[in-house]
């Protein structure tokens, strides 16, 4: 019998290729993290200098070379809230329909293909569409309403998809267990399936918020103001928004060079908002998955 420790040459070779493969995979995944940290570090180093209480709470001044970005922060928050009001209910209900009522049917397959196509549409096309439909045809003008609807359309496929996937992950035995007790399909969805899928659904919703808050093209023709120090008072007002403000002061401001610091500061604020949103998503998922077991 061959002792275990005296491996043959062929065995050495297979162990060697295994070690090489794992090293390569490891390096690749580490480099992803490194790139992320590099971007973050770059933005932080360049942008941290301009961050101050005034920067966060004042309007831009002197041709956007001084002052703060408060109107843009508020504008972005308005757009996130507005688009969520529109896309969450529609997206969640569509997702429920596709997985719980029409699963495997031609209708569901058709809707799925269409939503996949929709998510492949470039965001600038959403912007043009939003301008044609909401701004011009429906006469909302450049407004929070038009921008929110456009961003809502953009995030709809993501919301539908995450809802559907979260529901799909729930084992059928729970549905059968509920139905076998005389519950209707709707009761089963409300009381068993949705609470179980909720932690994952909410993660998807929050990630879509992250996506929406960073989009520039869809708001370009539908809501974003070049410079508007006043805060909005109605959904028919224009607003400034962080991604568009960043674009403006980096490319077409009154003095691009003088605005450079503010641009990095704006980028930093935007990134921090998206990061906080993602952390919140993680926290809520953990919180609700613990809670759902004992409700």
């Amino acid at each position: 019998m061959t002792p275990i420790i005296q491996a043959k040459n062929t065995d050495k070779r297979k162990r060697y290729s295994q070690a090489v493969a794992f090293t390569v995979f490891k390096l690749m995944s580490y480099s992803v993290v490194a790139i992320l940290f590099f971007i973050l570090g770059f933005i932080i180093v360049r942008g941290i200098g301009v961050i101050s209480w005034d920067f966060l709470t004042k309007a831009p001044e002197e041709g956007m070379t001084k002052g703060g970005i408060f109107p843009a922060i508020i504008g972005t928050l308005c757009l996130v809230a507005g688009s969520s009001i529109f896309s969450f209910p529609i997206g969640i209900m569509s997702g429920i329909y596709m997985n719980e009522y029409a699963a495997g049917s031609k209708v569901a397959t058709f809707i799925r293909i269409m939503t996949n196509n929709l998510s492949g549409v470039p965001s600038v096309v959403f912007g043009l569409f939003g301008m044609a439909l909401f701004v011009n045809t429906m006469k909302f003008g450049d407004s929070i309403l038009a921008g929110s609807l456009t961003l809502g359309l953009l995030s709809l496929p993501l919301v539908i998809r995450t809802t559907e996937e979260s529901l799909k992950a729930i084992d059928n035995s729970y549905r059968e267990g509920s139905l076998a007790l005389g519950a209707t399909k709707l009761q089963t969805i409300q009381k068993v399936v949705l609470p179980m899928a909720f932690p994952n659904i909410i993660t998807g919703l929050i990630l879509s918020i992250g996506r929406v808050s960073g989009e520039t093209a869809p708001i370009l023709f539908t809501v974003a103001a070049y410079f508007l120090p006043k805060l909005p008072t109605s959904i028919f007002n224009q607003v400034m928004a962080l991604p568009y403000h960043l674009y403006v002061i980096s490319t077409s401001g009154t003095n691009v060079e003088a605005s450079r610091g503010i641009a990095y500061g704006t980028a930093l604020v935007l990134i921090v908002i998206v990061l906080l949103v993602n952390l919140l998503a993680n926290f809520l998922r953990n919180y609700f998955s613990k809670k759902v077991k004992t409700n």
Binding site: S178, G182, K191
Partner: protein, 250 residues
Amino acid sequence: MLTIDAKNVDFYYSEFHALKNISLEVEKNKVVALIGPSGCGKSTFLRLLNRMNDLIPGTRMTGSVLFEGEDIYAPNVHVDELRKKVGMVFQKPNPFPKTIFENVAYGLRVNGIKDETFIEQRVVESIKSAALWDEVKDKMKKSAFALSGGQQQRLCIARALAISPKVVLMDEPASALDPISTAKIEELIYELKKDYTIIIVTHNMQQASRVSDKTAYFYLGEMIEFDETTKIFTNPKEHSTQNYVTGRFG
């Protein structure tokens, strides 16, 4: 009156002819075991009795199933009403991600019962009937997921009993459990037949012979033989039945 009376039932999954001309009568407060090799149609037949197969797309049935004289496949039947009377326990324990109490209360709540005193009373009774009370009485507000597999399965039985069904269908209720939990479930079935009619699918010959009054042997979608359990196990009419129950195949 017969509790269950299936007449000339044929069942298809798309093209696959899963049940061939099955007729089976079940009397009140009896335990009937359905045995046979995997894929013989015994679970499919069981799931016809509370219309669980309705949930599988592309299935088709002919023939009729009467529950206490009523055709359960008649167009005006409300499936949820049927399932209140014909409860089911599944192969894999499937408690809901809720507290132990709420798991058992679930069937009452979805059927519109609001009276909390009544609900509490039914929950305790059902858990006692499922021989689980001593183990869970101090943790009714804890998650059902904290229970062991055997306890979860008895909780699922309690959940089924809470809505006072007439019939309890059990689809291999002990196959995912250890021998001690299995023994507990078997004892329980013996107790339950005083109040309920039970139809149980099992792969375990000893289990079938221990718990049931009558046994039906299924093979390739046909019901080969249906008789008193003692007869099936000691002196079956069909050669195929004899081979199966003595373990020569299957």
